[in-house]
């Protein structure tokens, strides 16, 4: 088809051949809009270049120097020293890595299970679902710092309602955020409270796109509710689930506001909730260790990218 007269326009569709489309419109549109396309993209690309790509290169470069103290102080290249320092640091760096992993895996797993259950529960519209949805999006949209403060009040070891409720059903009082051991699990639970709705909404959006027929067929064949869910709905929902998992995991890895608002700089007196993000923040703005901080951030960024690639490969998510 390409050899016929139709394809004679020399510059025609460099990347997008007029596959299947025989007549003018598609190609004319593409050609007429080629210059416009780049003009429309230019400001965004410029912004991304100046505010994201250039800074990332700057950070990568800074990680190879001994930058410290004042921002206009001289700095020298020290090779990979910062990286070996960070990777050899078992007091702050590695514990921060493990806290980041524990927090993310724990919180996201719980959010996935609960989010899926909730999505199935809310799947069929019912009277009042509007209110339930409204209740679900408030935690998502509320200011994380405000959420942190709110939970500080609820979980206050002596005056909080949480311990009051525990005591009223005969359970022992807890220290929650007041203790070194319970702080991270408590914050994971707060994260679960705040972000399970996100999982639910993403999965609900996925559920509404699924066809009804396979489930009806399974029902006719006598499959029980669990079997229909496990062998029909869940496999069809897998792509959405994979995307939702990646989105949530990336955000959970980067959690900062909640941790910093409730436990302050360094993640508490014993660094008990110091994740990589909190650690890197402290290195930068409390200790002015720009070189070392940059090395930690390069490692952190590579780690997140690695996680995303790994999850997408295994989950088969194909979203852009």
């Amino acid at each position: 088809m390409g050899a016929t007269g139709l394809a004679t326009a020399p510059a025609g569709g460099k990347r997008r051949a007029p596959r299947g489309r025989l007549l003018r419109p598609a190609r004319t549109f593409e050609q007429a809009n080629r210059r416009l396309k780049w003009a429309m993209l230019a400001p965004a690309l410029l912004f991304v270049g100046l505010m994201i790509v250039f800074p990332l290169v700057f950070t990568a470069n800074l990680s190879l120097t001994d930058a410290f103290g004042a921002v206009n102080a001289g700095k020298e290249h020290v090779g990979l020293t910062n990286f070996t320092d960070a990777l050899g640091d078992t007091r702050r760096f590695w514990p921060a890595v493990s806290r980041t992993v524990v927090f993310t895996v724990g919180a996201v797993l719980l959010e996935t299970v609960l989010g899926l259950a909730l999505a199935m529960l809310l799947r069929r519209p019912f009277r009042g679902i509007r209110w339930v949805r409204t209740v679900l999006i408030v935690p998502l949209l509320a200011t994380p710092v405000a959420i942190g403060i709110l939970w500080l009040l609820i979980l206050d070891p002596t005056n909080g309602i949480a311990n009051h409720l525990l005591a009223s059903v005969g359970l022992p009082r807890q220290e929650f955020l007041g203790s070194v051991g319970q702080s991270l699990p408590t914050l994971m639970l707060i994260d679960v409270w705040q972000w399970t709705p996100m999982m639910t909404l993403l999965l609900l959006a996925g559920l509404t796109t699924l066809p009804d027929e396979p489930e009806e067929a399974a029902l006719v064949d006598g499959a029980g509710a669990w079997q229909r869910f496990r062998y029909v709905t869940l496999p069809m929902l897998a792509p959405t689930l994979a995307t939702a998992l990646v989105l949530r995991a990336v955000d959970a890895l980067k959690t900062f506001d909640l941790l910093y608002a409730t436990k302050g700089a360094g993640g508490g007196s014993d660094f008990e909730v110091e994740t990589l993000n909190v650690y890197a923040y402290g290195l930068t703005f409390d200790y002015q260790e720009y070189g070392l901080a940059s090395a930690v951030l390069v490692l952190f960024t590579l780690f997140i990218i690695g996680v995303v690639i790994l999850m997408r490969r295994r989950g088969g998510g194909k979203n852009a």
Binding site: P43, F58, V71, A142, H164, L165, D212, N319, A320
Partner: protein, 286 residues
């Protein structure tokens, strides 16, 4: 959106009973879930209207005589009002600039299926913001911009530009190209077709994206913590300072958190459908 309940056609009479039992359990579960997510927020709203003695006495619960004392003291201190003004200013300006940049770019990406360009821009959703804070701080400090609104607006755009693009790409991809083609055949320029035909059609999507971008700017803590000074401080930083300086004034704290959460709750009540569409957009596309 599918309709009504259940697997309608195949539902035999024998199933009705089981479904009714199921739905009673379902109602109970739904109410429980709603309570779990709503009660903490209700607790916050209630605490804002309690005296300081009542706030720290859990047995008071939700039945008490409300007082506006906390709000009065918060407003008298003044900082919160200034901060809300700052948050509003930074949120509106950064969102408006982001719309101007991101909507046309999203059109180009969505219309021409430029997935590689899209992924470059959307990398911004993956990169930890803090890894940009260091170089931004370096640059802004040397330009004397730390503490300025400019630094705040630019940093907030790091969140809103990719967010708006993310939402709008799928929106534009869903608009039929034929409309633009027809407009161009009828003599509009390429840009004219975008401006007069596509953009008005994209208004609902743009509104959703802008609302979300504004909310995330309103909530942003880390950038303001670094770049704001006393004069340009935004709401989350003011709240954070409240914890460190007045940790015992729970009533005041809750009044302040209520004040800054109220706009978000209002948005959730009014624009629930659009906000959900925006939050989940892109997640189900193949």
């Amino acid at each position: 959106m599918t309709t009504t309940t259940g697997p309608a056609p195949s539902a035999a009479a024998s199933r009705t009973r089981r479904r009714r039992i199921g739905s009673a359990a379902q109602v109970a579960a739904v109410i429980l879930v709603a309570l779990v997510f709503a009660l903490p927020i209700v607790w916050m709203l209630a605490a804002a209207f309690k005296t300081n003695v009542q706030v720290t006495d859990p047995s008071v619960g939700l039945w008490f005589t409300p007082t506006l004392e906390n709000f009065r003291s918060v407003f008298e201190a003044g900082q919160i009002v200034r901060s809300m003004g700052n948050s509003l200013l930074v949120g509106v300006v950064s969102t408006a600039l982001s719309v101007v940049i991101a909507v046309p770019a999203a059109w180009a990406v969505g219309r021409f299926a430029m997935h590689r360009t899209a992924s470059v821009i959307l990398v911004a959703r993956i990169v930890p913001a803090i890894s940009l804070l260091v170089p931004w701080y370096y640059l802004f400090a040397q330009m004397g911009l730390v503490g300025s609104y400019t630094a705040l607006v630019l940093s907030h755009m790091f969140v809103s530009v990719p967010l708006i693009m993310w939402i709008m790409i799928s929106f534009f991809a869903g608009l039929p190209v034929e409309l633009e083609e027809a407009a161009q055949v009828d003599g509009l320029s390429a840009f004219g077709a975008f401006w007069r035909i596509t953009l008005p059609l994209a208004a609902p999507g743009t509104a959703t994206a802008s609302l979300l971008a504004f909310v995330f700017s309103w909530n942003n803590f880390m950038f303001a913590l670094v770049f704001a000074d006393e004069r340009t401080q935004t709401v989350p930083v003011t709240l954070f300072n409240f914890i460190s300086y007045a940790s015992t004034d729970w009533g005041g704290l809750m009044a302040a958190t209520t004040l800054i959460t109220l706009p978000v709750i209002l948005a959730a009540l009014l624009g629930q459908k659009y906000l959900i569409a925006g939050l989940t957009s892109g997640a189900t596309k193949g």
